[in-house]
Amino acid sequence: MEPIVAVEVGTNRVRVFVGEAREDGGLMITAVGDCASSGVRKGELFHFESVSQCLERALHQAEDAAGLTINDVHVALSGSQIEGLPNRGEIPVEGEIGPTHVEHVCRVAREVTLPADREILHSIVGQFSVDGLCGVKPEGMVGQTLAADVLIVHGKHARMYNMVRVVKGLKLEVTDILFSGLCAAMAALSAEQKLQGVLLIDLGGGTTDYMAYAQAKIADAGALGVGGDHVTNDIAKAFRLSTVEAEELKMQHGDAMVSAAGRTRRLPLPAGAGETLRTAKLSDLQNVVHLRMEETFGLIRARLQRQNLLPLLGGGVVLTGGGAYLKNVAQLAEKVFGLPCVIGGPRNVSGLTANLAGPEYATGVGAVLCAYKNACQRQEQARGLWKRLGHWFGLS
């Protein structure tokens, strides 16, 4: 199989990952390109030329490291416009259910009317039901109605087009566009967690993606246009600092929880030449960060609560993305969701050296993993081994 290349254009970093199939069927990451991003805000491209330059640099790095020429890529996409829409398709059946019925019901379930400016990114089959019996393997069963529950992840057409345009401008082909939250879940969650029900939150620089698995299927997905940059901006506003200074302060002392000790500790604030030295209470800084993160988690919680998903998340919460490095962020998530929370990183792949195991690499590695599994599936299909459509999405 050809090496697989995934591109992740984030708000703070642009990363390129190259993966190759191993003989035992596993996946190995063989090269990475990584450079600072510019021209992206809140996951949306707003300056094509800058984005293009960053991407080119990252691609070159990856090409040099892998010793190959990259021709086509998979793109991981985020942004606040991405939404999950659960839908159910139902068809009447007669006699034994065969692959054609399954294919048919999936097609029906995917038929949703979206606003004209939106396009389906993924449609993920969660489970099948035969005559109201949920979670069955329908082939070979006999019944009168066959239903499929799918989650349709959709985004704005224009945003996808922008991304494709930038990639094509570098004389590359886009094989597929993947929702970055799904990619992160792919990389960071175990099959067991998905069975138990789990919530993955990817804390990016400009966006926060989430993906919820309940009752062994994907139950909800979405993205918020709020990320680590907002924390930085809040700090900058609160203490009248530049973005760079605020970022530095966040890295050094940022904390998602307010500590009693923070009330007595004062931090020196960066001051320009000739300015008198200013200080701020650590607890004030903690509070600014806390309020933002609590709100972000709260928005996700509210959404899950509306669908009564919270009690189904026995596997707890997994945090990925660069924002997972924020001190006490897992503690805060535990409090907001009332569920155990851990920091996750890429797993399910080999060849990762220690410096690729961090939570910020989950999306990129997951994108390669997604693409690889897609490719495997296509191969199997080509060999005539029809498998349940998209079954790996739900449970791998």
Binding site: V226, A238, V258, S283, N287, H290, E295, L299
Partner: protein
């Protein structure tokens, strides 16, 4: 006429919760509970689990278990605030089903001063009208408590719809020389209790002469976030004179100065079945004479069983009254003696909408900082690009 038989807590017109934060306020509520036959829904909130355990109030909420460890806030308002922030969800769940929150706090201490603004903010976010009844410390309690009380008051004014201040100093003047300390505090608690009771009785009951939630809403929303409260009582044949004298010449309303300055006031008369029309007329006339010309006086009366020969007057006055856009004015004879008006249903949702509109007006482009060039992230009407602390009106000192 239905005399005190209606089940108040299930009254759908206006669901009122009386919440006391901190030790002082819980004592006030305990006082209300002790001499009130049908108490309203009340909640006690404290960081001190022993004080909470001693309270007779049925609904108790212990906050800041992690941060204060059940030992109280030790007079530190910051600790009180953190404790409340820790248990925001519990506070939210507590208030969410009500229309009006009467928040009782004695400012100056740790829990009351720190927690009250947080609770008011939560109530505001949930669309409740919030009236904060607060006392400020006696001068002898020290400057630190005074300063802390002032800071708490300023924060509370930002969050609550109206803050009704009852400076202990003012009450001091009402007490005879040589009053024991414990009695002085008990007196403060009694006055607070009486005020809360007066207001609550007025709103929650099906009264002979109705004042309703919308009257109160109009008063507090245009009060410049500050109301004064007065209470006077009398018994026997010259009960009206006694009560009026206590109110208009007493220290609580600064010998009538507050009434003279106020642009609008809400007047509640509570009496027994023998409450006479002429008495109401007399009270109204006296207030009209005492108030400045054109002041808006809304009056309500309630008849309580077992109150024969007794009379109590409760006044809420807005010194910084800003008339709403639609015309305001005196009450007319129709208002006073006409048929009881239809009670308005409080507009919880509407209020929330109003707040949101105000907020978007205030959100200057600059608050968006580095996001000022890109499309805003709007979620439920809030611009998430604006720092959370700013949207919540939390002041970060720099």
């Amino acid at each position: 006429m239905n005399l005190g038989k209606d089940n108040i807590s299930s009254n759908p017109r206006c669901r009122i919760l009386v919440a006391g934060v901190g030790g002082g306020a819980c004592r006030v509520l305990d006082g209300i509970l002790a001499d009130w036959a049908e108490p309203p829904p009340m909640a006690a909130i404290n960081t001190d689990d022993r004080a909470l355990a001693d309270s007779a109030i049925p609904l108790k909420l212990m906050i800041g278990r992690t941060i204060a460890k059940g030992m109280g806030a030790g007079g530190d308002a910051e600790l009180g605030r953190l404790a409340a922030s820790e248990d925001k969800d519990a506070l939210r769940a507590m208030v969410t089903d009500y229309d009006l929150l009467i928040l009782v706090a004695s400012l100056g201490g740790g829990t009351g001063t720190g927690t009250a603004p947080v609770l008011a903010q939560i109530a505001r976010e949930e669309g409740l009208l919030t009236l904060a009844y607060v006392t400020t410390p006696f001068a002898f309690e020290g400057t630190r408590r005074q300063e802390q009380a002032q800071e708490g008051m300023a924060l509370l004014r930002q969050q609550a719809d109206a803050v009704i201040g009852l400076p202990n100093e003012r009450l001091h003047a009402m007490l005879p020389e040589g009053t024991p300390l414990s009695e002085a505090f008990a007196f403060v608690d009694r006055m607070m209790g009486a005020g809360i009771r007066g207001l609550w009785t007025l709103l929650a009951r099906n009264n002979m002469l109705n004042l309703d939630f919308s009257d109160l809403q109009t008063l507090v929303e245009n009060s410049g976030n500050e109301c004064c409260f007065g209470y006077g009582a009398g018994a026997g044949t010259d009960r009206v004179e006694q009560a009026l004298g206590e109110l208009l010449e007493g220290a609580m309303l600064e010998k009538g100065r507050v009434i003279a300055n106020s642009g609008a006031m809400l007047l509640c008369v509570a009496g027994g079945p023998d409450l006479a029309l002429s008495e109401l007329e007399k009270i109204h006339r006296r207030f009209q004479d005492a108030a400045r010309p054109g002041a808006r006086i809304s009056m309500g009366a309630v008849v309580l069983e077992g109150w024969e020969g007794r009379l109590a007057l409760t006044v809420l006055a807005a010194e910084h009254w800003m008339p709403p856009a639609r015309s305001s004015g005196d009450i007319t004879a129709d208002d006073l003696f006409g048929a009881p008006r239809e009670t308005a249903v409080p507009e919880g949702k509407g209020r929330r909408g109003r707040r949101a509109a105000q907020q978007s007006e205030l959100s200057l482009v600059d608050d968006r900082g580095r996001f000022k060039d890109v499309a805003p992230t709007i979620h439920d009407g809030a611009d998430l690009d604006i720092p959370t602390f700013m949207r919540r009106g939390i002041r970060i000192p720099t």
